[in-house]
Amino acid sequence: MAHAEQREAPPAGDEVAHRPTMTRAGLTDRLAPWMPFLLVPVLAVLGWLAIPSTSSWLTLTVSGLAMGMMIFIMASGLTLVFGLMDVINFGHGAFVSVGAFVGVSMLLVLANMTEAPSLMLNLLAMLAAVIAAMVATGALGWAFERVIVKPVYGAHLKQILVTMGGLIVIEQLIVVLWGPEEIYILRPEALQGAVTFAGAALEKYRLVAVGIGLALFIAMRLVLRRTKIGLIVRAGVENGPMVEAMGYRLRRVFIGVFIAGSALAGLGGVMWGLYQELITAHMGQEIMILIFIVVIIGGLGSVEGCFIGALLVGLMQNYVAFLEPKAALVSNIALMVAILMWRPQGMIPVVKAK
């Protein structure tokens, strides 16, 4: 299917040798790349058919999509690092926690801004918290890459172990620095409560998540499409020495990507911490399985896939929990299994060939 669309007509030259036989690809072949994008609306329609009350369906759908955005924010860094650099960073969860702690500490310092009933001030405070968290986790990511990840590029298993070790160390350092108690925090004043429309209620905070999630998605796509960075990293994972032999300083690019991934985790941490209104050193670790599921069904490393995967998970969770709470437990796993049966490489695989 790689040849489904030829950019240019075969060369005109007089060479008889190179004119491979081309036929038009079948409809299914041409539709295939778009299938994942259709899944979200399909799922929403299925939900609408299954759920009797429309206002309930609306609440569930909108808040499910918003939850998906939040998950996407947390997963984006992982898919970047996992997909581009082929590094399984179990420590990602710890970065989420650190982001939450730094961000929340910042918010506690800026209490007068968060408690003021002004949306502007509140958002400014959040911005400050996010920046602080991203700087902190970015810096931590830099150290993590240098000390922990660098020796294990290419070895998945060792990555799992070493980053797991890093996870424990970071969590413990959080406990040393912030103490073992969980920290409760209220969202900024203007972001508490919900907006109601058509009998459905949506937390205001989720709207913020939607905004940030969309912005992030677009920004990531632009960077990866418009620059060589994505290419360098993907090629570097496959054959690092060759990339260097072309003249790229692979190390620097790798560090940069890792820092970016970690900073995104920090952003996710602030968002998640404020959503939970309760932060613990383990919070990142607890959400990791969900994040992994999203990244995997997306197709390791694809930002689009991760985005769709997150939305699907958000919707699925809400629908199933509403229809049959008992099944909520396995809904994500079932979703993952189903998608992998359909597309063993995830919905939008980045890896095209062996």
């Binding site: 040849h3 008889v16 040798a17 190179h18 491979p20 036989t21 081309m22 036929t23 038009r24 690809a25």
Partner: protein, 254 residues
């Protein structure tokens, strides 16, 4: 000698819109050595892949000894007697050279599921493996890990594995590419000896004309995925397709 062993009927594979192998029908007979030639990207390796089962056919059939194996898996076809060496080296990199060969013999003798005897106790396997390594002059390297071999030696091992497998149909994909001038004859010699063993069939993809001239009983030309010519070496070599599309202008630049 004239007994047909392997046959492909309208064998076709499409990658999206690209027809890489286009309705190739061809019959191979026991005891013959058939060279398959064609420009780069003509579909030779893909044709091999279809026969040995690495990729599923989009249409058409593969028949071995009268049995339709179009749907059979790779290992099943191997059991039935199709053996394959790869164009790009494809070995067990962290095992020793000897172990690589032993594994093949072990498979040939169907001992893979022996759970409770130690591998070391099967001396006969080791002996046979050493014999084969000796025949390709690789005995001195038997203790090396494959990843420590130079490229040319890996190519030789690739050939050795196929010989160890001893299938009914041998498929060589450019066996001498990257081999130095003094090594290539060793391998070609081996192939010639296989050919002398009249109950084996050999399919050989090669770009070196002199090799083909000296070994082949018959030449099949693939071009843009389709069968372009099939016949005795001399007449096929002289045909227009081959001259134009394949040979190009000979290296007359000296």
């Amino acid at each position: 000698m004239t007994h047909p062993i392997l046959e492909t009927r309208d064998l076709t594979v499409r990658f999206g819109g690209h027809v890489a192998v286009d309705a190739v029908s061809c019959t191979f007979r026991t005891g013959e050595l058939c060279a398959i030639v064609g420009p780069n990207g003509a579909g030779k390796t893909t044709y091999f892949n279809l026969i040995s089962g690495q990729i599923p056919a989009s249409a058409g059939r593969v028949v071995l000894n009268g049995q339709d194996i179009t749907r059979a898996g790779v290992s099943r076809r191997c059991d039935l007697g199709i053996g394959r060496a790869f164009q790009l080296t494809n070995l067990f990199p962290n095992l020793t050279v000897l172990e690589n060969v032993r594994l093949v013999i072990q498979s040939k003798r169907r001992m893979g599921f022996a759970l409770f005897s130690t591998a070391a106790s099967h001396v006969e396997l080791t002996n046979r493996a050493e014999e084969i390594l000796d025949s390709v002059r690789m005995m001195p390297l038997s203790g090396y890990k494959v990843s420590e071999l130079s490229h040319g030696n890996q190519r030789k091992l690739e050939v050795a594995l196929l010989i160890a497998l001893d299938p009914l149909v041998y498929m060589f994909d450019e066996p001498t590419a990257g081999m130095s001038v003094d090594e290539a004859p060793v391998v070609l010699d081996l192939i010639a000896r296989l050919k002398a063993q009249t109950d084996r069939t050999i399919l050989l993809v090669e770009h070196k004309m002199d090799v083909i001239r000296s070994l082949a009983d018959r030449i099949v030309v693939l071009h843009n995925g389709a069968l372009a010519a099939d016949g005795a070496p001399a007449e096929v070599m002289a045909s227009d397709v081959v001259q134009e599309a394949y040979m190009g202008k000979e290296l007359d630049i000296a």
